[in-house]
Subunit: 458 residues, 4 copies
Amino acid sequence: MFDEIHEECGVFGAYHVKDAASITYYGLHTLQHRGQEASGIASEKDGKIRVSKGKGLTIDVFTKEKLEQLGGNNAIGHVRYSTAGGQENANIQPIVSRGRRGETAIVHNGQIVNEKELRVELEDAGCIFQGTSDSEIVLHMIQMEEGTLLEKVMKTASRLVGAFSILVMSDDEIIAVRDQKGLRPLSYTKMQDGYVIGSETCAFEVLGLYSHTDVLPGQAVQFKDGIVRSFFYEENVSSNMCAMEYIYFARPDSVIENINVHNFRKETGRLLARKDDVQADLVIGVPDSSLSAAIGYAEESGIPFETGLVKNRFVGRTFIQPTQSQRDRGVRMKLSAIEQVVSGKSVVMIDDSIVRGTTSRRIVRLLKDAGAAQVHVRIASPIITSPCFYGVDTSTKEELIGARMNCDEICSYIEADSLKFMEIEELKAAADGNGLCTACFDGKYCTDLFSYAKVLEA
Amino acid sequence: MFDEIHEECGVFGAYHVKDAASITYYGLHTLQHRGQEASGIASEKDGKIRVSKGKGLTIDVFTKEKLEQLGGNNAIGHVRYSTAGGQENANIQPIVSRGRRGETAIVHNGQIVNEKELRVELEDAGCIFQGTSDSEIVLHMIQMEEGTLLEKVMKTASRLVGAFSILVMSDDEIIAVRDQKGLRPLSYTKMQDGYVIGSETCAFEVLGLYSHTDVLPGQAVQFKDGIVRSFFYEENVSSNMCAMEYIYFARPDSVIENINVHNFRKETGRLLARKDDVQADLVIGVPDSSLSAAIGYAEESGIPFETGLVKNRFVGRTFIQPTQSQRDRGVRMKLSAIEQVVSGKSVVMIDDSIVRGTTSRRIVRLLKDAGAAQVHVRIASPIITSPCFYGVDTSTKEELIGARMNCDEICSYIEADSLKFMEIEELKAAADGNGLCTACFDGKYCTDLFSYAKVLEA
Amino acid sequence: MFDEIHEECGVFGAYHVKDAASITYYGLHTLQHRGQEASGIASEKDGKIRVSKGKGLTIDVFTKEKLEQLGGNNAIGHVRYSTAGGQENANIQPIVSRGRRGETAIVHNGQIVNEKELRVELEDAGCIFQGTSDSEIVLHMIQMEEGTLLEKVMKTASRLVGAFSILVMSDDEIIAVRDQKGLRPLSYTKMQDGYVIGSETCAFEVLGLYSHTDVLPGQAVQFKDGIVRSFFYEENVSSNMCAMEYIYFARPDSVIENINVHNFRKETGRLLARKDDVQADLVIGVPDSSLSAAIGYAEESGIPFETGLVKNRFVGRTFIQPTQSQRDRGVRMKLSAIEQVVSGKSVVMIDDSIVRGTTSRRIVRLLKDAGAAQVHVRIASPIITSPCFYGVDTSTKEELIGARMNCDEICSYIEADSLKFMEIEELKAAADGNGLCTACFDGKYCTDLFSYAKVLEA
Amino acid sequence: MFDEIHEECGVFGAYHVKDAASITYYGLHTLQHRGQEASGIASEKDGKIRVSKGKGLTIDVFTKEKLEQLGGNNAIGHVRYSTAGGQENANIQPIVSRGRRGETAIVHNGQIVNEKELRVELEDAGCIFQGTSDSEIVLHMIQMEEGTLLEKVMKTASRLVGAFSILVMSDDEIIAVRDQKGLRPLSYTKMQDGYVIGSETCAFEVLGLYSHTDVLPGQAVQFKDGIVRSFFYEENVSSNMCAMEYIYFARPDSVIENINVHNFRKETGRLLARKDDVQADLVIGVPDSSLSAAIGYAEESGIPFETGLVKNRFVGRTFIQPTQSQRDRGVRMKLSAIEQVVSGKSVVMIDDSIVRGTTSRRIVRLLKDAGAAQVHVRIASPIITSPCFYGVDTSTKEELIGARMNCDEICSYIEADSLKFMEIEELKAAADGNGLCTACFDGKYCTDLFSYAKVLEA
C-alpha cells in the first residue's frame, strides 16, 4: 500500500516529569511515523501554558532553545498528517484556549463523526472557529460545560461520536480520554515520579519503560495531585480497535491491546501461507510495513525470505516530482528492486494492503523490469471496499479499487501472476480475540455516521 | 521619541478592486511605519477567505506567489507592532472565523478598554480564546449578535469602549467602523470601480489617489453591492484624535482630519520659536519625525536650519546589542552627529517628545561629544505625564520621566543647556480647532477606563 | 541619483582591538549604505582565520553566535553591492587563501582596470579562478611574489591599475593599501591599544573616535607588532578622489580628504543658487542624498527650504514589482510628494545627479500629480556623459541620458519646467582644491583603461 | 557499526541527456546514503557552467526553480559527508574554475594521499587555495598541464596517489577517471542518446537502466561528441576495491565489480554461520546494513531470522542530544528492540563491523533491557585494526577498539555472551576472487602513504 494511506496523528504527554517538554519531544519523535506534516508541544510552566509548533518533522520544528523555553513539569504534544488546504496553520495542534479561569491545551488523534452537528450547535450559541479541526470544537464544548475540568471533559466526551484519543492539559493536570469504541490506541505508564501517555507503546520503550496500561474505551484517566485516577464517562462500551493500526500504521515494536504489532503481522503472513499452494522461489515484502508479514509467510511456507526491494531512506515531502512523461519514476525514487535477487525467479510479494492499485501495479512492474519471472501478490489484509470516517485517509469510495473490482480484476489491473487477500475472519484470528473495527473491509461501521452517511449513499 | 513610543498597528482594505491583495500589499507597505513586527492579508476569492500572515515587514512576509494565491477582489490587511510575549503567532491579524454561515475576517487598530469585562462575559457564554488580541473578542461579539453583518457589527461597536478603527470582511462586503471618540484615524477613497480604506491617507497617494473621506467617529461604513453606505451606530460622538498621531506616528504626507501632518509639525516648531529667545547658531531636528518641527522653528526664529544628526537607514530589529560596557553604542548605531556642523556651535535641538529621557540624554551627549558648545532642547509637544490606554505603548507611569520630574529636573537629567516643552493649549492651536485626545499630557481620558483605572491609582 | 547608481562596496578592519569581529560588525553596519547585497567578516583567532559571510544586510547576516565564534583581536570585513549573476556566492568577500605558509584574507573596494590582462597572465601560470572578483586576482598575485607579506602586497599593488582600497590580513598583521590615484577613500584611526581602518570616517564616529588619518594615494600602511608604519609602493601619485563619493555615495557625516560631505553638498547647492535666477516658492531635495544641497540652495537663494518628498524607510530588495500596467507605481512605493506642501507652488527640486533620466521624469510627474505648478530641476553635479570603470555602476554609455542629449533635451524628456546642472569647475570649487576624478563628466580618465578602452570606442 | 563510519561522498553525471540537471538530481538522491551533509550540481547550458549547491539533503538543497535554472544537457553532481570545520562552504562540490579558456567543474570521491606534497608544489608555483578539499588541488593541476582537457586530466591523474573517482566537466565534455588501484567504484551506462555516470549502479536502476560498464582502475573515460572513448593513463594497475563498500557503504541493490552487494553480504552471513555452533533461538540484524548478512546466517544455520530491532526512519542531523545524565537515550532514539521478539530468547545479533565498540555495547544493552537471555554478536567482517587513508572516516587508531583489544576483550567490553569476527580470507572468499583493499583489517595499504605514514608510526 506504501504511501497511500495516512493516519491523522499521534499524541504524547508527560505529567509530573522533569523536563516534560524534552520527554515529549522524544515521545513525538518516536511517534513520527503517525504524521510528518506538523508537530507541536504545549507545556505548563509556572501556571502558564506555552506552546511551540510548526510544519515539519519534530526534529526540525524544535530547537534546543525552544525546548528550554517550554520547560515545565507537564506537557502534551502532537504529530500530524495534514490533509492539505490553505489554512493549515490554524489547525496545527496543540490548540490552546486562554481564559480568565485558566488556560487549557488539547491534542487529538481521530475523527469525530458528529462534528458538523456539534459545530452548528456551537455556532448557534455564538462560538467562532478559526480553523477546521475537531480539537477546536472539543475545546469549545469543554468551555461550555460546568464543573471541574474532569467533569467538563467527561461530559464533553460523552457527546462526541467517532474515534478520539484526546489529551487535555490545564495548569495542574492532564486528562486522557478515549472514545467509547476504542478505535484509536492510547496508553500510559509510570516514569520517575510521574507518568507519560502516548498513542503507541514504542514511545515508552525509547524511554526505557517496558510496561504500560491502556486507557480503556469510554474511560477518562486523570493525572493530578501526583497520582492517576480513572473513570468511565460511558458504560456502554465495546472494543473496536482500528484494524489498520495493526496492519499498517503502528510501529512493529508497539503493543496494541496486548498483541505486539510485529507478531500480529507475522501471523497474518502465516495465515496467508497456510491456505496458499503457490510454487515460488522466494518471498519478499514491500518495505517497511510488510516485512513482518513476509517473514511469517516464509516461515510457514518454507519458501526462502529474501530482500527483493530496497527503500530509499531519504525520501521527504519536498521531493520534486518528475514530469508527466516520466510517470513511473516516482515510485522508483522510493523503491528499487534488486535485480540479482529477483531476476528469473518466481516471487511471492507480500504487501499489507491495496488501496487504489496504482502503486501495486508499479511495484509489480518494477520487479518484472528487474527480471522477475512471476510475481504472486499476497495481501496481508482483506480487500478494502469502504471509506474510513474514523481518521484514516484512504481516499474516496470511487478511488478504492476494491469497491469497483473483484480479486481477479484487481490481479489483472496490477499485472500480477496471481493475487490473494486475507479473509476478514483470518484477520480477526490474527488479533487473537481482540475486537477490531473492520469497517473498511465490510462496511460495518461501529457508530452512527451522521452526515457522513450521505457519502456512502452517493 | 525616537524608538521609544510604539503604536499598535495600521489597517488597509480594498473593496471591488482588481488584484485586491496586491493593492493591500502596497497599502500596508506604505503604512509600515505604524508597525514592523508582523503583517497579514486576508482576501476573498470565489466566496472563500484566504489568509496569509507572518512576522516581519510586509515586503518580507509576502512573496509574489503568496499574493497571487490570495488574489481576490476584496481584501483587508494589517501591520502590527507587537508587545512581545510567547504566544505572538495567535495574535497576528487578520483573524478569520470560519463557520457554517460564512467566513469573517477582521483587522483592528486601537485598544478596547472594556476588553476584560467583555472577555469575562464571553467566556461565561462558552467562548474560548486562542490569543490575547482584542480582535478575537470583537469577532466573538459579532457572532453572538443577530441580523445582517452590518447590524451585527454596529451592535458590537456600540458595546466597545476605547480606541478602534476596525475593518470586517465577509464574502461579499467590507465594513469599516471607528470608535465613538474618533481616537484613531480611518479614511477611504474611490479607486477604479471600488474603494480603498486605510489608517492614513499616505497609503492612497502612493496609489495616485489624492482625495479622501474620513470615517467619522461613531460611524460604520459599508462597502457592498459595488457602492458605499454610511451609518451611525452611536449618536453621542465627539472628536478626540490621538495627538500622538500628529506628533509622532503618522507620515508627514498624511492628512488627518484635514490637517497635513508635516504642516502640523511645522506649526508646532513655529509656536515653540515664537515664545523662545534662545541665542543659537543653528537649529537641528532629530530624524525623522522631528525634522518638520525643526524647519518650522528655523523659519520662525531666523536661526539657520541644519542637518546635525544622521540616521542609519539600515537599523533593523535583529541588531545585536553591544555589551553592557559599551552602553552608549546603541544610540550611536542609529544616530550620528555631524561634527563639522555642530562643533563649537550653540545648537537648538528639536525633538518630538520625551518619554523616559534616556534617549534624549544620549543624543545630547552625542552632540556634545561632537563638539557642540551648547545644546538647547525644544520639544514639539507638552510633557508626557500619564500612560496611554488607547493603543500607544509609552511605558508605565513609573518609567515616564515627566511623571516624576518637572522641566528643570528633566533638563538637568538629559544634560541639556536649556529645555522647553509646548503648552497643551499651543498644541491644540496647531491642530487648528480639531478635537484632540491629550490624555498622555493632562490625564484627562475621554472614556471610562474600566479595569485600567486601577493602573492610575497604583 | 536615487537608486540608479551603485558603488561596489565598503571595507572595514580592526587591528589589535578587543572583540575585533564585533567592532567590525559595527563598522560595516555604519558603511551599509555602500552596499546592501552581501556582508562578510574574517577574523584572526589563535593564528587561524575564520570567515563568516552571506547575502543580505550586516545585521541579517550575523548573529550573536557567529560574532562570538569569529572573536579575535584582528578582523577585516566587507559590504558589497552585487552586479547580479548566477555565481554570486563565490564573489562574496572576504576571500581567504589557506596555504602551508599561513592564511591570508582580503577585502577590496574599487575596480582594477587591467584585471583581464592580469587574469590571463595568472591563468597561463596555472592559476584557477573560482569567482570573477578582482580580490581573487590580487590574492593570487600576492602569493606569486617573494618576500614578507608587506613586500608582496607592495609589489602587487604597484602592478594594479585602477581604483582600489584593499585590506590584507594574515595571522599577525593587517595591511591597508590604496591606489596610486587615490580614487577610493580609506582612512584609519587609533582605538584602544590598536587601530580601526575603514572606507569612511562615519564608521569611526559611531565608535566615538573623532579624528583620523587618510591612507594616501600609493601608500601601504602596515599594522603589525602593535604599531602602525606607512610606506609608499609608488612615487608617482596624484589625488583623484571619485567625485561621486562626495556627490552621492558617502554619508553626510563622513569627512573625505578633510572636507565634510554634508558641507560639500551644501556648497554645491549654494553654487547652483548663485548663478540661478528662478522665481520659486520653495526648495525641496530628493531624499536622502540631495537634502544637504537643497539646504545650501535655500540658504543662498533665500527661497524657503521645504519637505516636499517623503521616502518610505522600509523599502528593501525583495519588494515585489508592480505589473507592467502599473509602471509608475515603483517610484511611488519609494517616494511620495506632500500635496499640501507643493500644490499650487513653483518648486525648485534639487537632485544630486541624472543617470538615465527615467527616475527624474517620474519624480517630476509625482510632484505635478500632487499639484506643483512648476518644477525647476537643479542638479548638484555636472552632466554625466561617460561610463565609470573605477567601481561605480552607472550603466552603459547608451543608457546615460547625458551621453545622448543636451541639457534642453533632457529638460524636455524629464518634463521639467527648467533644468540646470553644475559646471565641472564649480564642482572642483566645492572640493576646495582637492583633486577629483571627474571622468564620468568629462571622459578624462586618470589611468590607462586597457581592455575597457574598447567600451568607449563602441 | 551503525553511524560510526562515514564515507566522503558520491558522484553522478549525465552527458548528452535531456534535463541533465534533473537526471543528476535523481541520481544524487539515490546516492544520498553516501553523504548527507551537502549536495551540489553543476550543469552546462549554452556553453556556460552554472552551479547550485548547499548544505543538506539533495531534496532539501534543490527546488524546482533551481533545477530549471540549471537545465543543460550535461551535468555533474556530488553528495558529501563533511568532516566538520568552520570553513565548510568553500569545500562543497562541484568546484568550478572560470578562466579565459573556458570553465571547468569537478567532483571527487575519495582521498588523495600525496595531497600535502602536491599542495606544497602548487603553492610554490603561486597557486592559492580557498578551501581544503582535494578537488581544488586537482583543478589547479589540470590548469597547470598542457594539451586537450583529456590530456590534462590524464597527466594529472597519473600524478595523484590514493583513492579517487573523479568527474571533470567542461563546456562540451565530461571525463570520468578512476585511481590506479580501483579503490572507489565508478560506472556508467547508456541513457537516451547519452550516458550517465555514477558511484553506484543503484543510481542507474532508478532510471530504469539495468546494465552498466565499470570505469576500470587507471582508466579515463571521455564522453564527447556524443560518444564514449576510454583510455588508460596508467599501465600499472590493480584491483583493490575498498572492502567497506561491500560491507557497509553501498546500497544492497548496487553491483560492484559484478557482485551484487546484498548477495555479498548474505554470503558473509553464511560464512559466519558455517563455522559457528552457537545454540540460539533466533537471528537478528542491526538495521539496515546488517540485515542481508543476518538473512544469510539464518539460512545457513537454520536458526530463524527475526526482526528484533526497529530503526526510527526520521532521525536527522538536527536531533537534539539528551543531556549527559541520559547517556543511553541517544541510541534508543535511533534503535528500539522488540521486547515480544527477544524477551527470554538467546539471540544471534549480526552487525557489519565494530569500530569504537560503544554503539555495539549500547545495542547489546538494549536487547538485554528488553529481556534477551543471551546475545551472541557475530560481525560480518574482520576486526578493524588500522585507520583508513582512502576516504573512510573510521576514527583515529586510538579510537579503534580492535587496535587495542583482542576478540575476547572486545566481547567483554560490549557485554556480549559471545563474539566472533570473520577472517580476512573469508571476506575475500565472499568477494569471489575480486581484489579487495583490506588495509583497515590487516594494515597492508596498497599505495605509498606519504605524510600519512607518520600517523601510523605515532
